[in-house]
Amino acid sequence: MTVMSTNRGTATRKGGGSSAIFKTLPLAPFSLVFIFFFCWPIFQIIKNSISDGKGHYNLGAYRLMFTKPYMHAFSVSLQLSFFSALSAGLIGAIIAFYVHKSSKSLQSGIAMLSGVLANSGGVPLAFMFIAAFGAQGGIVTILKKLGFDIYGHGFTLYSFSGLVLVYSFFQIPLMLLVFTPALAGMRNEWREANNSLGGSNLQFIRWVLIPVLFPAFLASTLLLFASAFSAFATARALTGGSVALVPLVIGSLIDGNVITDQANLGDALAVGMVVVSAIVMIFYGFSLRWARGR
């Protein structure tokens, strides 16, 4: 009896094992892509960042990365990512809130439009904004005729604040896409329970709405931060490198504007970006788990 039971058990385990392999098999192409287009490049840049190209390894590029000009680039990139993510996050969350309350047809229309806009960027976006908000742009001219000269007040599109404005073009739609599901999880019963217990709308917003939505808001904003931190083409086309951002500095190093003995600096800066992105993603993961726990 025992032997038979054992045999049956083994057969079941074998069946389960082959079933598990069969289930995971479709993930094999993704695993290959992940290994060759994510893990392998990261390994290569780490290796190159500590290699002098002559078979010797040292941390010279990292010592250089921690000098003022490159730390300044990191500082500007982080500030730009922070301010653009925060402003787009807040504006996007408010828009998402009102879209969520609108009709189903408007909601699906906005979702479709957001999907397109969130993936817009690069040179075409930069030129669109130059046409609208450049020194001679259409909107700037109209505002000037109305007596409001934004360039006279210190604004310029080719600056830090200009980049925040341009980034909002794809970040607000991205916020709409990623934050709307959290709003869909809000229960009408919570508002009604608040009212029947004597709570005002302000108390509901303060004690229920904001605490419930905050983790999802944080996760969405961190995603915007990561998106802004890695953006390259738009900033390059718009500022031509006048605003020191890490991706632009790496780009200029790759383009061949390399000072002697700094060939691996671009790799070291890229590793720095990977570290920042990894930290953001860890916080993003925690925020998501926090949001789902609600």
Binding site: W190, E192, A193, S196, L197, G199, V212
Partner: protein
């Protein structure tokens, strides 16, 4: 309900509400006494939840007035009505612990933290959850969540407790347990309660009175036993409990002929002319097995037999479109098998009839 509480607590007068051309409520009136538990029962879309939400101030209505303790509250908003509400499910604030949820209404009222914690713990003890004050809603079962919701609603000492199908998302065993707890707590706190449900057994077992609604109107409101035994309309008779519908004919002088029997018409039956074809509404327990030799009996074939514990339900095909259900004790039903023939007879002294 104790005799001391016979003053009117809630008076809903001629409420009407419509969605476009569809009437959700038509001239609906209801009075509830202090400490009374009234259930509203009816098919989906009959307007029972609409009444509860209008009373709670969560939905507007078009006509009619609402009085609580003699005060007209028709125009006041839900946050000013002091009514505790328990919803179907998922109404606890997910960012707050059990105790914080229960304290919420007291916090809104700016009660000191010490007092509100003491009061909330008392209520948690009442709902048998004092051991989990720091749990979050997602760590509780559906039944536990509803108990917390009940404690939260009671914490504000509501003038009226509104229960909107609070058991519908729970499994059968927990439903029975929680509904008994709701009744125990309601009696303990003497809170006037309006309970909306689509479950007859639930309504009948916990309420002082049950109102049956149909198409936005209150068909009948009465004690559970009167509702079952003395229905005032064919709708109530067929909606409450199991009712056999048997082809019958009106005889002269207020009598109805069913099978070979002539039986008195119920006072509440609509009037029909002599000779009219009608449907007689007969409870299963008012049909008994009779002798074949009885001239008033009707023979039929047993086509189903359902064991229900102490009782067994037999489905008897009497020919034509007359399939009747008869309740027997399981002991009596032991010797009767599907496929055998029996004779049955109506035992009630009066019958309600409806249009054929």
């Amino acid at each position: 309900m104790s005799a001391k509480n016979l003053e009117t607590k809630v008076s809903l007068q001629n409420l009407s509400k419509h969605y476009g051309t569809v009437a959700a409520l038509q001239d609906f009136s209801l009075e509830m006494q202090t400490g009374e538990m009234v259930s509203l029962l009816g098919p989906s879309g009959c307007g029972k939840t609409t009444v509860l939400r209008i009373l709670g101030g969560l939905d507007p209505h078009h006509d009619g007035q609402i009085f609580v303790d003699g005060e007209n509250i028709t125009g006041s908003t839900s946050d000013k009505r002091n009514m505790g509400m328990v919803f179907q499910a998922y109404s606890l604030f997910p960012n707050m612990t059990v105790i914080e949820n229960v304290e919420y209404g007291l916090r809104v009222r700016k009660i000191s933290p010490e007092i509100r914690r003491k009061k909330s713990m008392e209520l948690l003890e009442m709902v048998h959850l004092s051991h989990r004050p720091d749990a979050y809603p997602n760590q509780l079962s559906g039944g536990q969540q509803q108990r917390v919701a009940l404690a939260r609603a009671l914490a504000i000492a509501p003038k009226v407790l509104l229960l909107d199908e609070p058991l519908s998302a729970l499994d059968a065993q927990v439903r029975v347990q929680i509904r008994e707890e709701i009744r125990r707590i309601q009696l303990e706190t003497e809170t006037t309660t309006l309970f909306v449900t689509h479950d007859q057994e639930e309504a009948m077992s916990v309420s002082d009175r049950v109102g049956v609604m149909n198409a936005g109107q209150l068909e009948q409101i009465d004690s559970p036993s009167n509702l079952y035994n003395k229905p005032k309309s064919a709708f109530v008779a067929s909606f409450v409990g199991v009712t056999n519908k048997i082809s019958a004919q009106i005889e002269g002088s207020g009598r109805v002929k069913v099978f070979n029997q002539e039986i008195e018409l119920s006072q509440n039956s609509a009037s029909f002319g002599s000779g009219s074809a009608v449907i007689a509404l007969v409870r299963p327990e008012n049909i008994a097995i009779a002798s074949d030799a009885d001239p008033e009996s009707k023979a039929g074939l047993i086509i189903t037999k359902s064991f229900l514990g102490p009782m067994t339900k037999l489905g008897v095909d009497l020919g034509g479109e007359n399939l009747v259900y008869v309740n027997l004790t399981s002991q009596e039903a032991k010797k009767i098998d599907v496929g055998s023939r029996i004779a049955v007879k109506i035992t009630s002294e009066e019958l309600m009839v409806a249009n054929a």
